[in-house]
């Protein structure tokens, strides 16, 4: 029996206008168009979306597997990027 060689696609769905597309899962399809149709059947059977993106999994470039690794360290010690870093007297309005 021949193995299916359909590529793996990652699926992103926009839940409604005004929201971002969000990753919902993956599927196999022979081409882009079928990937879209399969994604509609699989991930939006109950009006979960108004727009779908599909992208071949092999086209995605991801950061290193270790999510705590030094790649993200540069932002770790920069507390001054957050508004709560700054002490402002209570009685200053609109700030």
């Amino acid at each position: 029996m021949t193995r299916s060689s359909w590529p793996l696609y990652e699926v992103f769905v926009r839940g409604k206008r005004g929201l971002n597309h969000v990753h919902v899962g993956s599927l196999h399809a022979p081409d882009d168009e079928m990937a879209l149709r399969n994604a509609r059947d699989l991930y939006t059977r109950r009006n979960e979306g108004v727009s779908i993106w599909v992208v071949k999994a092999e086209s995605i470039t991801a950061s290193s597997p270790d999510e705590k690794d030094p790649f993200f360290a540069p932002s770790g010690d920069k507390v001054y990027r957050h508004p709560t870093f700054y002490a402002i007297p209570e009685d200053v309005p609109h700030l």
Binding site: S26, P30, M34, P65
Partner: protein, 309 residues
């Protein structure tokens, strides 16, 4: 001394954070998940058969449409789960081949036949009810893609259980013959539904490690008890009797006591000697092989379009 990777894995699990596909994980954790998720996916796919059998025979267009949607959901659930298994490095086609070769299992419940239309209702109420008991805690399982798939599955299962119960309520308000049909169906499905939670804790080989890894959150017996306690008032409201003379409320425990499950039957069906094991797998094999030309044609068409571009 254990490795830095193992330390990090254990910390992630202990903190109730999710393990994600490209994280380091112990081989045993990966193997356990692939086995469990594949078995779960296979159950959804094989589970389309007993009910699919009734789509063309359902008594009204409304009931046909509902059943069709339900069986389509089962296919969807199978695909969510195969997708989750693939994030662990499993190959989907290989999983299907293992199922067909009998090297991977699916839930034993689907090896029982659906003899009457009341079975469609009872499967929704009891079988999907038991599945929900098993699946709700899996929404918090430690492996991210599995947990996310289960959240989708659980949202959809609730429709399955309610349509079943509603179907049964309708039949119970019908003729004497229809009520008898419901009772007869409950009599056949009650015990196999209890078996869906797996062997008793003392004999469940995978439970302890799976709980440590937070793949499982509750033992088989805990979930089985929860299901019994949930089902008793539902049965009373429906007006059916659950076929167990030992089923009584135990005020001291705050739970229902119930009779001994026939574990001989359970192991017999698990090992392949249930009423429909051969038929279910054979049907899946045939569907897979009959569909081969479609998969090949779609691949050939995609290749041709690519070359033309």
């Amino acid at each position: 001394m254990q490795s830095r990777e193992l330390d990090q894995f254990e910390q992630t699990v202990a903190a109730d954070h999710r393990v994600e596909p490209r994280d380091w994980m112990p081989d045993g954790y990966r193997a356990t998940l692939v086995r469990q998720i594949a078995q779960h996916a296979h159950s959804e796919i094989i589970g389309m058969q007993p009910e699919g059998n009734w789509i063309s025979r359902a008594p009204s267009l409304r009931r046909k449409a509902i059943l069709l949607a339900k069986v389509q959901d089962e296919a969807g659930h199978g695909l969510y789960l195969y997708a989750a298994a693939e994030t662990l490095g499993a190959d989907r086609a290989e999983l299907t081949e293992k199922l067909i070769a009998g090297r991977q299992k699916y839930s034993s419940i689907f090896n029982y036949p659906t003899l009457t239309y009341a079975d469609v209702g009872v499967i929704g109420w009891l079988v999907d009810g038991a599945a929900i008991c098993n699946q709700v805690p899996l929404c918090r399982t430690s492996y991210g893609p599995y947990a996310r798939a289960m959240i989708r599955v659980c949202k959809e299962e609730s429709f399955h259980q309610r349509q079943g119960y509603e179907l049964l309520m309708t039949m119970m308000s019908g003729t004497e013959q229809q009520r008898a049909m419901v009772q007869e169906s409950v009599d056949r499905w009650w015990w196999p539904s209890l078996m869906m939670f797996g062997p008793p804790d003392a004999e469940s080989s995978n439970t302890e490690q799976s709980m440590l890894w937070r793949i499982k959150r509750h033992t088989n017996d805990e979930l089985r008890q929860r299901f019994v306690d949930m089902s008793v008032p539902q049965a009373a409201k429906l007006g059916v009797t659950l076929p167990d003379p030992h089923l009584v409320w135990n005020a001291e425990r705050g739970h229902h006591d119930f009779g001994e499950i026939d574990w001989t039957e359970f192991w017999q069906v698990v090992k392949g000697d249930g009423p429909c094991n051969a038929q279910r797998v054979e049907h899946r094999r045939k569907a897979h092989e009959d569909g081969a030309w479609v998969r090949e044609a779609a691949t050939a068409y995609a290749r041709k379009k690519e070359q033309a571009a």
